[in-house]
Symmetry: C2
Subunit: 164 residues, 2 copies
DNA sequence: TTGATTATGAGACTCATTCTCATAATTCCA
DNA sequence: TGGAATTATGAGAATGAGTCTCATAATCAA
């Protein structure tokens, strides 16, 4: 399913073309628009967010193609899915980014990214203990950000519907 | 929204009755069946799993009531939601259980629970660094369990549809 | 018992995502 | 370069978890 290619950070669309070729798939206009738009987003986005952007560039692009390309982008490792909220998936582009985890403010929707090598190591240790092979992981903390706790938040960035 | 009660582990339904009273809600038959069935499940379950059980006990119980009671059970802390898979929520009862996190085998669906105080502490440290107040967290590792890696798995327990 | 209040079941509805299928674009190669 | 073969596309139907509505029913305090 997943190919073991690594795409050139300087030319991700070119790399994605290679990826398509290796899978015997075709290089098409709609795919190019979706890929380039996805990589142009900074921050986290949903399929619908992406479709809105794509739609501006190409009035005829369909949502189905956006969803289909999102799957390919995930396989090619150019983006990663994020399960911030139940019911819909977010994504973020990984070109030139390292792995990180997230603090999610339930009041204003602000997401803070963190990296913690010590946690990652302990994680591996846990996996080793259970003889488990990690393919991916998700580590999220939900709560309240500084600004919200101090009542300084001007406007919500987003609303995450979390059950508890 | 959430009340600050702690329910007696020896008599959770009794405690839940208290919880309902404090919220000005009524003690009803359907609620009793749903609560008792939910607490009778060991392991992780979905709303639909629970409904199937409830349905056996009371042919007229509706799915809506199962969903509604699941929310109340979450508020009363008798159960906790689990975001193992995108698109549907799982739950697990917390009566007499401590907090733990999960290893999820993508091949057979087996879930291994782990507790790691060192990770929990580092987590708090991260939150402190960003002045973030944690309300809850979710830490999952997806991958392959021992049995599956060694080809010893007899049958899938479940199938989790994860996008990578 | 009764009346005010809250809960219920049934099914309509929502919303993200996937699927289907007729048509269109790409690619391969003679 | 011209098709034929193959894969992709757009449109909208289908799916599935979860929520909502509303007419009716049950609970409970007085
Ligand atoms: Mn991120
Ligand atoms: Mn568990
Ligand atoms: Zn905030
Ligand atoms: Zn397994």
């Amino acid at each position: 399913m997943r190919l073991n290619i690594s795409i050139d950070k300087q030319n991700p669309w070119g790399g994605f073309e290679e990826f398509l070729k290796e899978k015997g798939m075709k290089i098409t206009r709609p795919r190019e628009v979706v890929v380039k738009e996805a990589l142009a987003v900074r921050g986290h986005f949903t399929a619908d967010d992406l479709w809105a952007r794509v739609h501006k560039k190409d009035r005829t692009a369909s949502k189905a193609t956006v969803y289909r390309t999102l799957q390919l982008l995930t396989q090619s490792r150019l983006i990663e899915p994020r399960d911030f909220e139940q019911g819909k998936l977010y994504y973020e582009q990984m070109v030139g980014h390292h792995h990180h985890d997230h603090l999610i403010c339930l009041e204003c929707g602000k997401i803070t990214e963190f990296e913690n090598p010590a946690i990652e190591e302990l994680q591996e240790k846990v996996a080793r203990k259970y003889n488990f092979t990690i393919a991916s992981h998700s580590h999220k903390m939900y709560g309240t950000c500084v600004r919200c706790r101090q009542g300084k938040t001007k406007e919500k960035e987003r609303e995450f519907k979390i059950k508890f």
